[in-house]
Amino acid sequence: MLKTVWLKTIRDTWRATAAWGIGLGLLIYVSVALYAAGYPTLAARKQAMSQLGPLLNTFRFLIGAPVDISTPGGFLTFRFLGSLPVIVGIWAIRATTSTRDEEQRGIGDLVLTTPHSRSNVLTQQWFGFSLAMLAITLLMWLVGSVGWLATGESLDVTALLIASLNIGFQAWLWGSLGLLLAQFFASGGAASGITINLMLFTYLFNNLAAMFAWLAPFAATSPFHYYALNRPLAPGWVFNPLAFAIAPLLTLICFWLARFFVAHRDVGATFPLFGPRRRKVSAAPINWHDPLLGNLFLCYLRDMIWPTVRWALRIMFYVVLMVATAGQVVAALKNIANVGGNGSQIAVEIYIAVVLVMPLPIVTAAFAITQVAGWTADEENGIDDMVLTTPHPRWSVLLNRFAAITAVVIALLAVVGLTFNLTIILSGLNYDVGKVLVALMQLLPFTMLVAAIGFAIAAWLKRPGPAVVLVSLYVVAAYLLDLLGQFLKLPDIVPALNIFHAYGNPALTGLGAWAILGLSVAALALLAAAMVGFQRRDLARG
């Protein structure tokens, strides 16, 4: 596995490749199994379709064009297949842009002093990534097929293969675009951030274009438009080979452009789009009294400000988008709610709760995980060696970090709350904003609990790095269990240990004082465990 660059790439990614492929296959199996258990008869499936049909149309901006869910394939298409390319795409983008970080660390210098050209090295890396994507796709198909057949439901194996390839092609495209954009950014993080934002934007844009006639002519600019034209598992689907071929074609174009740019730039530098740049060093006198460097808490805060601003902007964009589209969907929701005079208000409440409030915990959990990742990276990279040879006890360093995270989470939630209030007022919607504020308030202990779980795991492991993966797995598993739990007969202890279950849906049910108390106590207990663990163990590095 160390004979060539592409084999090395596969060696670096095989675990993730296997996990993604098998995980997606299991997702297909679980979804079909749950569907089969939840709707065992054709009559039940038809009834579900008649009940949920209008709702599917209402939320098409999130899940794409509505689909007949009276078959397992239709249900799978509705539930997951619309957004799966985005999720796999995030991994693909991270995988390709991480090569830029390796370059920044000087690994590129070493590889490129072996007898291989830059374009050859990039080609091999991309080839390794492409094989990984193919492996994910085939594993998803294979495991999904076996699982599906195990449920006793009928399966068109070819259709599932095309659906898997369709997902794989989209992720392949976004990974390759990430590789291309990485030629213009100094860090893999910046390149992946831009590419992921672009992917999310084009995904939402494509869905919105299906709702708003004036956007429809521009829908073809989004790769997801071509993805959505092929839904092989949906009843009545007709294969569109041209749409199927668009993503691979764009992928090859991205790759060839990346190959061109990498050959025409300095190693470790970005491609000079606007001619050579001179690095400027400020001639201004040094400010020796930056207040944000005054203590641990403030310096941690200083590091977190810009990432938090970027998260806040993304969430604000989403909030504004959702509130702006509310007018169109409320009418449909009113019919579904089937209520009298105050139908509009109920419709808005359902809409806000489902579209705006329900996704927020997973978003803030993801934010908390990025903070855990930052904390563990500081230790692994040796930064903590420097901090902990200053006269501060370890528990205090950890506590300051946690306090800084708490502060930015409060700021993030406050900005989201403010944005929501303003957009509701400006849109003229009839909605009690207090309900969302309650939900946001409840999100604080929830988010801090996710962070505390990560800190506690990091503190009690020999090396902190794996804590990020473990807390991510827990959050994803908890989210899925909460989402699909109604179909499962799980022991009572499982929901009790689920943070999403504990959080509930305060926008609909009101302030949960016990939930806030429970989440807070759990967060504090885990924080204390983290402090004890961090105090007693060896500091890892490298």
């Binding site: 590091d303 902990l388 040879t389 006269p391």
Partner: protein, 310 residues
């Protein structure tokens, strides 16, 4: 603005050892770090700590700095236990790690400012003076510095608060010869001011020029603690003495310090002697010497003898 942990005038008063370890042992699982390390560094001395790669130098330093915890044994700094009084110890130390990692998004000045604030304040003028001595522009982001300049930031942050104990892990790594000389001067100044310096290094000349005593560590165990002059005197000299007629080699084998005697062609004896060669010359002078050649090993060879012994 002098820091609270600056060297005080009463440092001459007899104090506990600057660093003392007792049976200090560290295992990473089953992998050996250091074993039963007994080390004592007196206040005010510049103490060298040398050994081959993987010998346990960085492990020892990280144990003293309480970044990792011993499997058994203990370490103390100025009489304070490295774990129980870790925070108090860190008020007194300046630390430069072997693999320096600092905040990429901070400039050199911001790095010094931040670490200075965490340590309780720093004399800004002294930071600027140090930067000028090392010809370092503090306005650049850390990520933009070359390897040598990054090391200079590391050195400045370790010295800027004039600590009572400097723990430096391979401090001149990446520095050009001019800046190495500047570093040696800086160490001498701080030592003259009463500071203790614990310095790990691979560069024998650096140890020879800067250190009073040196400890040699190999495979996690201390193999020698001695003054530089002791090490120098312990050098094994190789003497090739040619006489006008055959000489009994046993005469030389009995001389103190002689480690081996070999009989060569043409009435030649090859005598290896550790320490002074005077007794050998005295015995040889009892005969008629035709030729005398002495090979004096370098300090590096002297150290390498310790490295290679199994």
């Amino acid at each position: 603005m002098q820091t609270q942990n600056a060297i005080s005038s009463d440092s001459a008063i007899k104090t506990p050892a600057a660093i003392q370890t007792q049976k200090l042992t560290k295992y990473y699982g089953t992998v050996r770090g250091v074993t039963d390390l007994d080390l004592e560094v007196q206040e005010g001395e510049v103490f060298g700590f040398i050994g081959p790669n993987g010998a346990g130098k960085t492990t020892t330093i990280r144990l003293i700095a309480d970044l990792i915890r011993p499997t058994r044994g203990s370490a103390s700094v100025f009489g304070m236990d490295s774990q129980a009084e870790s925070v108090a110890i860190k008020r007194l130390i300046g630390y430069l790690p072997g693999e320096l990692s600092l905040w990429n998004n901070l400039t050199g000045a911001e790095t010094c400012q931040y670490l200075g604030n965490l340590r309780g304040g720093v004399d800004v003028k002294y930071v600027e003076e140090l930067a000028a001595r090392f010809d370092l522009d503090l306005r650049k982001k850390f990520r933009a510095y070359s390897k040598g300049n990054k090391q200079k930031v590391g050195i400045i942050q370790a010295f800027m608060h004039k600590p009572r104990l400097l723990i430096l892990d391979e401090p001149t790594s990446g520095l050009d010869p001019l800046n190495q000389q500047e570093f040696y001067k800086l160490v001498a100044e701080h030592q003259a001011g009463g500071a203790t310096v614990f310095l790990s290094s691979h560069i024998f000349e650096e140890v020879e020029h800067t250190c009073h005593r040196v400890a040699i560590i190999r495979e996690g165990e201390l193999v020698r603690v001695a003054t530089i002059s002791d090490i120098v005197n312990e050098k094994t000299h190789r003497m090739e003495i040619t006489f006008d007629q055959p000489v009994n080699p046993d005469q030389f084998k009995q001389i103190a310090g002689v480690t081996s005697v070999q009989v060569g062609d043409d009435n030649k004896l090859v005598v290896n002697v550790q320490g002074s060669v005077a007794p050998v010359i005295q015995v040889a002078a009892q005969h008629t010497i035709v030729n005398l050649i002495t090979h004096e090993p370098t300090l590096e060879e002297a150290f390498l003898q310790y490295y290679q012994r199994s």
